[in-house]
C-alpha cells in the first residue's frame, strides 16, 4: 500500500523524476527495450467484454421488461418511504446489536462464571438459529403470551406491543448482538497484553485502561467487520417482509403485484439496496482510515487522492513502457 503511495510523483515530469532517483550524478540513459507482449491479457479482456455485452444486450432488448416502469417507480413516494424504513430498521437494529454486543462481550470475558456462561448461552441460541425463524417467533409471540406484564412498570396486550416494527427490531437486533459480541471479543483480545501492563504500571485504573488504551486499539479490529455487518444488515432487513413491516422489498413488491411489473419492481429494490450499501461503503472506508492512525506508517490515500495519483501516474506508466 505504501509502495503505491510512494509512487505519486512530486512533479509531473517523469524524466526529471528518473534523474533524482539515480542519486543525481550523471543520469544514465533510459533503458530502451521492447516490452514483453501480453497476448493472453488481450484475449481474456476481449472474451470477458464480449460475454458482458451479451448479458447486457439480453436484458436491454428483452421485450417483456418494461424499462420505463423502472425509471418511473425509482423515485415513487411509496418506494422512497420503503427505502427510508429499511434504513431506519437497519440503523436501529444495528445500534441495538452493538450496544448489546459490547455488553455480551464484556460478560463473556468476565471472570464471573455465571455471567460468562449466560453470555455464551445467548450467543449459542441466537447464532445457532436462523434469523428468519427468530423474526417469526417474535411476530407470533402473542400466540403464547397474550399480555406483556412487566409488573407495576408496564402492562399491555401483546398484540399491541409486538407490532411489525417491534418484531422486526427485536428479531434483527437481538440476532445481531450475538454476532457483534464475538466481533468485540475478538477485538479486545487482539490488543497486546503489554498495553494493559504499561497502563497499569502508570497507575491507570481498569476502567481507564479499557477506555483510553484497549478499546481505541480494539476498534481497529472491530470496525471493518462491523461495517460488513451493517452492510449485511441493510440486505438482511429484507427478511422482515415476513413480519409485514413495510420496508423497501415489501413496498416494491406490493406495487409490483398490483401493476403487473414484478421483475421491474425487484430491479427498483435492487437499485436502492445498491445505493445504500455503496454510500455506506465509502463512509466505512473513512472510518477505517481514522482508526488506522498510528498502526500504519502512512495512512492509505482517500479515494480522491487515489484518483489524483492515478491521473498523474498514468502518463508515467506509459512513459516507462509498462
Amino acid at each position: 500500500m505504501t509502495d503505491k503511495f510512494d509512487k505519486v510523483p512530486a512533479d509531473p515530469d517523469p524524466s526529471a523524476d528518473a534523474v533524482s532517483k539515480t542519486g543525481g550524478d550523471i543520469p544514465p540513459e533510459a533503458m530502451k527495450a521492447i516490452p514483453v507482449r501480453h497476448y493472453g491479457r488481450w484475449i481474456s479482456a476481449v472474451v470477458v467484454l464480449a460475454l458482458l455485452a451479451l448479458l447486457i444486450n439480453a436484458f436491454a432488448t428483452a421485450k417483456k421488461i418494461q424499462w420505463n416502469a423502472v425509471g418511473e417507480y425509482v423515485f415513487d413516494s411509496t418506494v422512497l418511504a420503503g427505502a427510508g424504513r429499511t434504513l431506519l430498521i437497519s440503523v436501529l437494529a444495528m445500534i441495538m446489536g452493538v450496544v448489546l454486543g459490547v455488553i455480551l462481550a464484556v460478560m463473556r470475558m468476565s471472570k464471573n462464571p455465571v455471567t460468562s456462561s449466560v453470555a455464551w448461552f445467548y450467543i449459542w441460541i441466537f447464532r445457532g438459529t436462523p434469523v428468519y425463524v427468530q423474526l417469526l417467533i417474535w411476530f407470533n409471540l402473542a400466540l403464547v403470551f397474550e399480555t406483556l406484564n412487566l409488573g407495576p412498570i408496564y402492562k399491555d396486550e401483546m398484540v399491541q406491543v409486538m407490532t411489525p416494527f417491534m418484531a422486526a427490531l427485536l428479531g434483527l437486533g437481538l440476532n445481531e448482538a450475538a454476532y457483534m459480541a464475538e466481533i468485540c471479543r475478538a477485538g479486545l483480545m487482539a490488543v497486546d497484553e503489554g498495553q494493559t501492563e504499561a497502563a497499569h504500571a502508570l497507575g491507570m485504573s481498569h476502567g481507564k485502561t479499557l477506555r483510553r488504551i484497549v478499546i481505541p486499539q480494539a476498534m481497529r479490529v472491530i470496525v471493518p467487520p462491523t461495517g460488513n455487518e451493517f452492510i449485511n444488515m441493510l440486505k438482511t432487513s429484507s427478511l422482515v417482509y415476513v413480519v409485514t413491516y413495510n420496508e423497501l422489498l415489501r413496498a416494491t413488491s406490493t406495487i409490483g403485484s398490483t401493476s403487473y411489473a414484478v421483475m421491474e419492481m425487484l430491479f427498483v429494490a435492487c437499485i436502492w439496496y445498491l445505493v445504500m450499501t455503496s454510500v455506506f461503503s465509502v463512509f466505512q472506508y473513512y472510518l477505517e482510515r481514522r482508526y488506522a492512525r498510528g498502526s500504519l506508517r502512512q495512512l492509505p490515500p482517500t479515494p480522491w487522492q487515489k484518483v489524483k495519483a492515478n491521473m498523474l501516474g498514468m502518463g508515467r506508466e506509459r512513459g516507462a513502457g509498462a
Binding site: 501492563e197 497499569h200 502508570l202
Partner: protein
C-alpha cells in the same frame, strides 16, 4: 539512608513452577541497583513483583516503607483494592523490554496520558512538561510522531519519558536494551546514565555489564530463583566469589 525497596523472603510461583525461592534484598534510596543472571533466573519476575504486576505468594515486599499490594492490620493481611494498588503504582515508573508505547497516540500524547488521566493535571501543563521530558531524552523533534514511525531506541526513550512524567520515586527497568539493535543501545543507556546522575533510585534488570560496572551502585546475581551473590558491581564483576557467578560471567563478558 533508608531502603527504597525491601524484600524479605519473597516467593513466587506460576502453577507448580517456583520462580522465586526467597529473595532478600534492599535497594537504598538514590542508588542504581542492577540485577543480572541467566534467563529464567527470576530477575524479571522479581522486578514485576515490585509494582505488583505479579502477586507474590509468600514473604514481604516494601517500597518506601509501604507494603506492596497488601495492608497489615495486627497480624492479619488484607489484599488491597485495585484502586489502592493503582495509587501505589503511580510512584513507581516502569520501562519494559518491548517498550509497550501506546501505538494510537503520538510520542507527546504517550507522555501526557498518565499525568492527565491519572493525576488530573491540566492538559496545557502536561503538554509543557511532556515537551521538557522529550527534550531531556533527546527527542524534542519527534513529539508528533507515532511509535511506528520511531526506531526502537527512540521508542524506548519515549517510554522512559512516559514513566518520568509521573514523577516517580523509583524506576524499574526490565531489560530496557535487549530488544534493540546494537547501535541504538548507547542512546538509551546515555539517558539512563543521566537519570542515575540526577539521583533517581533505579532497579535495572540488564545484560549490559558495562553499564552495571560503570553506573551501578550495587549488583545482585540471581540464578534459579535465589540471590547467589551481591555487592559492589566492580567487585562482583571482576572478582566473582561464587562458582555459578564465575560460570555466568565467563560466558557473557
Amino acid at each position: 539512608m533508608t531502603a527504597m525497596v525491601k524484600a524479605e523472603g519473597v516467593h513466587k510461583s506460576f502453577g507448580a513452577v517456583q520462580v522465586l525461592k526467597g529473595i532478600d534484598l534492599e535497594v537504598q534510596t538514590g542508588e542504581v541497583f542492577c540485577l543480572i543472571g541467566p534467563s529464567g533466573s527470576g530477575k524479571s519476575t522479581f522486578l514485576r513483583c515490585i509494582n505488583h504486576l505479579e502477586k507474590i505468594n509468600a514473604g514481604r515486599l516494601y517500597v518506601d516503607g509501604e507494603l506492596v499490594g497488601y495492608r497489615q492490620k495486627g497480624d492479619k493481611l488484607y489484599e488491597l483494592k485495585d484502586s489502592e494498588v493503582a495509587l501505589q503504582r503511580r510512584d513507581i515508573g516502569m520501562v519494559f523490554q518491548r517498550f509497550n508505547l501506546f501505538p494510537h497516540m503520538t510520542a507527546l500524547e504517550n507522555v501526557m496520558e498518565a499525568p492527565v488521566q491519572v493525576k488530573g493535571t491540566n492538559k496545557a501543563q502536561a503538554k509543557e512538561r511532556a515537551r521538557e521530558l522529550l527534550d531531556r531524552v533527546g527527542l524534542a523533534d519527534k513529539a508528533g510522531n507515532y511509535p511506528s514511525q520511531l526506531s526502537g531506541g527512540q521508542q524506548q526513550r519515549v517510554a522512559i519519558a512516559r514513566a518520568l512524567a509521573m514523577d516517580p520515586k523509583l524506576m524499574l527497568f526490565d531489560e530496557p536494551t535487549s530488544a534493540l539493535d546494537p547501535e541504538l543501545v548507547g542512546d538509551v543507556l546515555d539517558v539512563m546514565r543521566d537519570l542515575a546522575e540526577s539521583g533517581m533510585t533505579m532497579v535495572v534488570v540488564t545484560h549490559e555489564m558495562g553499564f552495571a560496572r560503570e553506573v551501578g551502585d550495587s549488583l545482585v546475581f540471581m540464578d534459579g530463583g535465589v540471590v547467589v551473590e551481591s555487592g559492589d558491581p566492580r567487585e562482583v564483576l571482576t572478582n566473582p566469589q561464587h562458582e555459578r557467578t564465575q560460570a555466568f560471567l565467563s560466558k557473557v563478558l
